[in-house]
């Protein structure tokens, strides 16, 4: 059995049955990282081997005593946006190139409590701003998938591109991601894995570097829908340190997969049939509808009339919030400082040189839409449209239990494509952004390959705090699709 090819669920069973040790499991992943990370650039920081193995040994000891936690001994990658105590946390930005937080984010603390073994910090778009993982100050991430007969370097999607590539290529059994407008779901789709953005408020944001506070949500990136449930169960929960954290109880998400979906109503939003949608994606969507129908779901046409404004709304609100959230990177209390004779000089040089171009542009965009004379026309207007978008979802969920849509409008594209026109790049998030704006949970499940051999995903969107139904339907889709393809670059390949 290849230890790097397991699901979390399989690995947990193997550990519990003492078929292999957590140390062996961790070592296999460290070896895989050693072999493949230079190519993939999925990790910015790999933890020291002795630390990883020590954590694994502690997990083995707990298994021996029969005290294993939900994630015990499972080697995972952590997006380098979660602050990890004593471990460099960069947000893929030069401005935090050497930042070592003296604290552990709430989500990673929960995972550690559940026994997870951290392998390292995965690469991402700088400050999670991007859809292709090309804006990292530590270099782009390579998608482990290749087009048939074409060696072009493909993007893994973003911003959680390092996490997606690591999980897809066998450099971690699972990884944490964060999703602001699609940053878990889109790279999951591009890399052929499962990604779940929970309901806003489900996972604490404390200790996770903020991009857009009203949208940011942490979630799991895994190889199966059941794994997503398991890992979310470990990550989620009320946190008194986050005022937007929900104090609803955390259900046993791991048990949601496998539940019958018979009689569930699945909505197909008309507005997602975007003009110009690639034929293959439209076909796969139809296929997904057919699968769910076969599984006993009732398929209903619904309308979300304002979703088409989701993206434009997002590109006002997210930059506005980021322009303020990123003001703290000023070179005074932490991070890199560029010296200058005056305070303003330090600010201007530190921020011009510390932030990459995309981050700078978004800060400037956000500054503009909040500035005197423009606030009403842009920011306030966008927040009103956002209300309408959310209402659309709430109304749709009066008729249906979940919505089914494609995750992204295309498969992974090549590095260098879509790069000149920011709007073209933003269109990657067209299907994922509306759920973010509404705060509802959404899951991407890999369901097939396109004609060039690249994975495609479908998205299941659910009601606020109803991740369980999302996971159940996702499980049904997964079972029907039987997606078992592996990327070209994979720990198991060529060993």
């Amino acid at each position: 059995m290849m230890l790097t090819g397991l699901t979390l669920t399989e690995a947990r069973a193997g550990l519990a049955a003492r078929k292999f040790s957590a140390r062996e499991l961790a070592q296999a992943h460290l070896d895989a990282i050693g072999r493949l990370n230079t190519q993939l650039n999925a990790y910015i920081t790999v933890l020291p081997e002795q630390d990883v193995l020590a954590a694994a040994d502690a997990a083995d000891a707990r298994y021996a005593k029969g005290e294993a936690g939900l994630m015990d001994g499972l080697p995972v990658g952590v997006k380098d946006l979660f602050c990890t105590k004593g471990v460099k946390t960069t947000a893929a930005s030069k401005i935090l190139a050497n930042f070592v937080p003296p604290y552990e984010s709430s989500v990673t603390a929960r995972l550690l409590d559940a026994g997870a073994v951290f392998l390292g910090k995965t690469n991402l778009d700088e400050f999670a701003m991007g859809s292709a993982n090309i804006t990292s100050a530590f270099g782009s991430v390579l998608n482990p998938w290749k087009r048939k007969g074409d060696d072009a370097a493909l993007v893994p999607g973003g911003s959680s591109g390092g996490s997606a590539a690591a999980v897809a290529a066998g450099l971690a059994l699972a990884a944490t991601g964060t999703d602001t407008g699609g940053s878990i779901r889109q790279p999951a789709a591009f890399c052929g894995i499962v990604g779940l953005k929970p309901t806003y408020g489900r996972c604490s944001r404390w200790g996770t570097i903020a991009f857009a506070s009203s949208l940011d949500q942490a979630g799991p990136m895994t190889r199966s829908v059941a794994d997503a449930g398991l890992m979310l169960e470990a990550m989620a929960g009320f946190d008194e340190k986050d005022s937007t954290s929900s104090n609803r109880p955390v259900p046993e998400f791991s048990k949601a997969v496998g539940k019958s979906v018979k009689g569930l109503r699945v909505g197909i939003p008309a507005e997602y049939r975007a003009p110009g949608m690639p034929e293959e994606i439209a076909r796969l969507w139809e296929q997904g509808i057919a699968w769910l129908r076969e599984a006993g779901c009732e398929v209903v046409d619904v309308s979300l009339p304002h979703t088409k404004y989701g993206l434009a709304t997002y590109y006002i609100i997210a930059p506005a919030e980021c322009s303020s959230n990123l003001a703290r990177y000023d070179g005074i209390r932490f991070g890199e400082r560029q010296d200058a004779p005056t305070l303003d000089g330090i600010y201007e040089r530190t921020r011009a040189e510390g932030f990459g171009q995309e981050v700078r542009n978004r800060i400037l965009m956000g500054t503009y839409v909040l500035s005197a004379g423009y606030y009403d026309a842009y920011y306030l207007k966008a927040q009103k449209v956002r209300t309408l978008i959310k209402r659309d979802f709430v109304q749709a969920f009066e008729q249906v239990d979940v919505l089914l849509t494609p995750t992204a409008p295309s498969a992974a594209f090549a590095q260098g494509e879509n790069m000149d026109d920011p709007v073209q790049m933003y269109l990657n998030d067209i299907f994922t952004v509306p759920a973010s704006m509404a705060g509802v949970p959404a899951l991407s499940v890999p369901v097939g390959l396109d004609s060039r051999g690249l994975p495609l995903g479908l998205q299941i969107i659910g009601r606020h705090f109803d991740e369980e139904t999302v996971l159940s339907v996702g499980g049904a889709l997964e079972a029907a699709a039987g997606f078992a393809h592996k990327p070209t670059l994979h720990a198991e390949a060529g060993v």
């Binding site: 929900s246 404004y309 005074i332 991070g335 400082r337 303003d344 700078r360 209300t387 920011p422």
Partner: protein, 95 residues
């Protein structure tokens, strides 16, 4: 409305991002393109629609008034690019 260079410069100043003129023009073009695109929102009728606040209609949770934090000077100064004794330092600012 189209974005001019002076406004772009003012915005960069507000955001404390020091950009050369050539870079500013590049930024201006990018932002102008995005602003043109987001202008599609002008066709949405938002009469009487309240702006969205939060994603769930929960009110703010309030904590008890107890000292639970602070007293961690070493930690908060540990990452400072420049410090002197118990202080962060900056170039002298005169009011």
């Amino acid at each position: 409305m189209s974005l001019d260079l002076a406004t772009t410069r003012r915005i960069a100043k507000l955001a404390r991002i020091g950009l050369e003129d050539a870079e500013l023009e590049n930024v201006r073009q990018k932002l102008d393109g995005i602003l043109g695109w987001v202008d599609q929102l002008s066709e949405v009728d938002v009469e009487g629609v309240p702006p969205m606040v939060g994603t769930e209609t929960e009110a703010l949770r309030q904590r008890e008034d107890v000292v639970t934090d602070g007293n961690c000077r070493d930690a908060i100064l540990s990452c400072a690019p420049e410090k002197s004794g118990p202080f962060y330092t900056v170039p002298k600012v005169v009011e």
